[in-house]
């Protein structure tokens, strides 16, 4: 084995290096097991085959169009959900009567699995992209709305009284008091929404099809039983997910640079 104990011991105290060793080990493992026959190579191609399939995919123009397709659908759906979530969140959140009236509806609609809307989406919207967007927006909207509602209701009552005592108008109150408190929650909502939106984008592409996207590429690969390229596409989907996570975390740090890192993701 390449990694002898001393390296492990020296890497022991440096997590980044250890993480790398972990990754390489994982890759090596997936290389050896199929070759040795522990895993059926037909369905578990060795890593080298997957990597070469990945390189082939990178070479194909259709691949990049598919990646672009998935990312655009994902971003459009996410943006609609985020804007709607924040606007509705602040409006509903800052009017207690509205907050109480809508609570039960929100609590009823939120857990409905967006994929349940799939048959409706196919039938209601003839253009496949619209149906997928319905799923993506529906799934990610609630993530943002719930967090923003928490943010608005978490505004410190004392701060609210001081703002009122200085006769800050409702609009200015929203701008200088509600928004800064809600922002960290909104960012959490966006981070959760981004992940869910990607899952639903690819689900839509897989089940509805008819749009340029990774999901469709996987369907094509499955039909021609091109197993290595299926894995390559899975790796790509994972990378997109990873980049999405890193990007949203990065954005969070920038936007919340001024905010004490104390930000509770409510265990609801």
């Amino acid at each position: 084995m390449t990694t002898s104990p001393p390296i492990l011991r020296r890497a022991g105290d440096n997590p980044a290096l250890l993480g790398l060793v972990g990754l390489l080990g994982f890759g090596a493992l997936l290389e050896i097991l199929p070759r040795v026959g522990v895993l059926p190579a037909e369905y578990f191609p060795p890593t080298s085959k997957i990597v070469s399939a990945l390189v082939d995919e990178f070479g194909r123009a259709g691949f990049w169009r598919a990646v672009a397709g998935t990312v655009t659908t994902w971003l459009i759906g996410l943006t609609i959900a985020v804007v709607a979530g924040i606007v509705l969140g602040i409006v509903i959140g800052s009017i207690p009567a509205l907050r109480l009236a809508t609570a039960s509806t929100i609590e009823f609609l939120r857990p409905i699995p967006s994929v349940a809307l799939l048959p409706l989406a196919i039938v209601l919207f003839s253009a496949p992209v619209r149906s997928i967007l319905l799923l993506v927006v529906y799934a990610s909207f609630w993530q943002v709305l719930i967090q923003v509602l928490h943010g608005v209701t978490d505004v410190d009552p004392v701060a609210r009284e001081t703002a009122a005592s200085y006769r800050l108008g409702r609009w200015r109150q929203a701008r200088y008091l509600v928004w800064p408190t809600t922002l960290p929650y909104a960012m959490t909502g966006i981070r959760l929404a981004a992940a869910v939106a990607l899952v639903l984008t690819i689900t839509g592409e897989l089940l509805i099809g008819g749009t340029k996207g990774i999901g469709e590429e996987i369907n094509v690969a499955q039909s021609s039983i091109a197993v290595p390229s299926m894995y390559a596409l899975i790796v790509v989907a994972g990378l997109i997910g990873l980049l999405a996570n890193l990007a949203t975390r990065r954005a969070e740090r920038i936007v919340l640079a001024w905010h004490p890192s104390v930000r509770r993701e409510l265990p609801l």
């Binding site: 022991g12 997590p15 250890l18 993480g19 790398l20 060793v21 972990g22 990754l23 080990g25 994982f26 369905y43 109480l100 009236a101 609570a103 039960s104 509806t105 009823f108 939120r110 857990p111 409905i112 699995p113 967006s114 994929v115 349940a116 809307l117 799939l118 048959p119 409706l120 196919i122 039938v123 209601l124 990607l198 899952v199 984008t201 690819i202 689900t203 897989l206 089940l207 990774i214 999901g215 996987i218 369907n219 499955q222 039983i225 197993v227 299926m230 894995y231 596409l233 899975i234 989907a237 994972g238 990378l239 997109i240 997910g241 990873l242 999405a244 996570n245 993701e265 265990p267 609801l268």
Partner: protein
């Protein structure tokens, strides 16, 4: 008395308005694919008969609970193992972060190719979807346990399974519950996807069957049942959570009121 009436009005108010508007808006609808709400409701009883429940709803639920249960057991088991061991955690963190980022539905075609379309695959699809939120939140929870409590355990010689059961798992439970709730919603989605991509029974299959048979009101009723399933499971989850975490909510309330 008026206070409870007021509360009921608030809880049922908006849903009632929305349903009524939908009822009348769709009343005259001639569009084949958007039948009046009235027909959907009328078709409900004889579509979702006891036989239908036994042949389709029950198999779906069994697969969901087995899959969700496995996702919890595997997720928490590995999570405790990884969370407690710093070196193991930094060794596995990059891999886990990548595997978590893979949108679970992407794995369904490959799983079907490998394991076919029988029940084992359907359960596997659910486990593969649900295990990540549980695993990563458990690692997070186990990592964040209070070190004073950990010292207390060491000095009072509480270790082994007793330590895991009464200290590690309980201390990490608020974070594990966050993961379990996320896993539940993912598992329901994966259950439906598993059934839409080639199945011979189950809720997802039934909805597709109605659509292929042009039974549109029944299809809408199927979507209602799926939605209801999501709502009821989320309600059940909240009840279980309230019992499991009553100590946690109590402690936070005490802490917040400056006790």
């Amino acid at each position: 008395m008026t206070r409870t009436l007021g509360r009921i009005a608030l809880v049922l108010g908006l849903p009632a308005i929305l349903l009524v508007t939908w009822w009348f808006a769709s009343a005259g609808s001639t569009s084949f694919y958007q039948p009046p709400l009235e027909t959907i409701v009328k078709v409900f009883p004889d579509t979702w008969t006891a036989a239908r429940f036994k042949s389709d709803v029950v198999p779906s639920l069994i697969r969901l609970f087995i899959g969700y249960g496995l996702a919890l057991v595997v997720g928490i088991g590995l999570g405790v193992l990884i969370g407690a061991n710093r070196r193991l955690r930094s060794l596995l963190e990059p891999i886990l972060e990548f595997l978590r980022a893979i949108p679970p539905p992407v794995l369904v075609p490959i799983l079907i190719l490998i394991a076919g379309i029988g029940n084992p695959t359907k359960v596997l699809v659910i486990v593969v979807g649900g295990v990540w939120p549980v695993l990563l939140n458990t690692v997070e929870g186990v990592r964040g346990v209070d070190d004073v409590l950990s010292d207390t355990c060491r000095s009072y010689k509480i270790h082994g399974w007793l330590r895991i059961r009464t200290f590690i798992l309980r201390a990490a439970s608020p974070q594990i519950v966050v993961g379990a709730r996320q896993a539940l919603s993912i598992c329901i989605i994966m259950m439906v996807i598993g059934e839409l991509l080639g199945a011979t029974d189950g809720l997802g299959y039934t909805v597709v069957e109605f659509q292929r048979g042009f039974q549109i009101p029944e299809m809408w009723s199927g979507v209602f049942v799926l939605g209801l399933l999501g709502v009821l499971l989320s309600l059940a989850f909240t009840l279980v959570e309230r019992r499991v975490l009553n100590w946690y909510h109590g402690a936070r309330a005490a802490e917040r009121s400056g006790h």
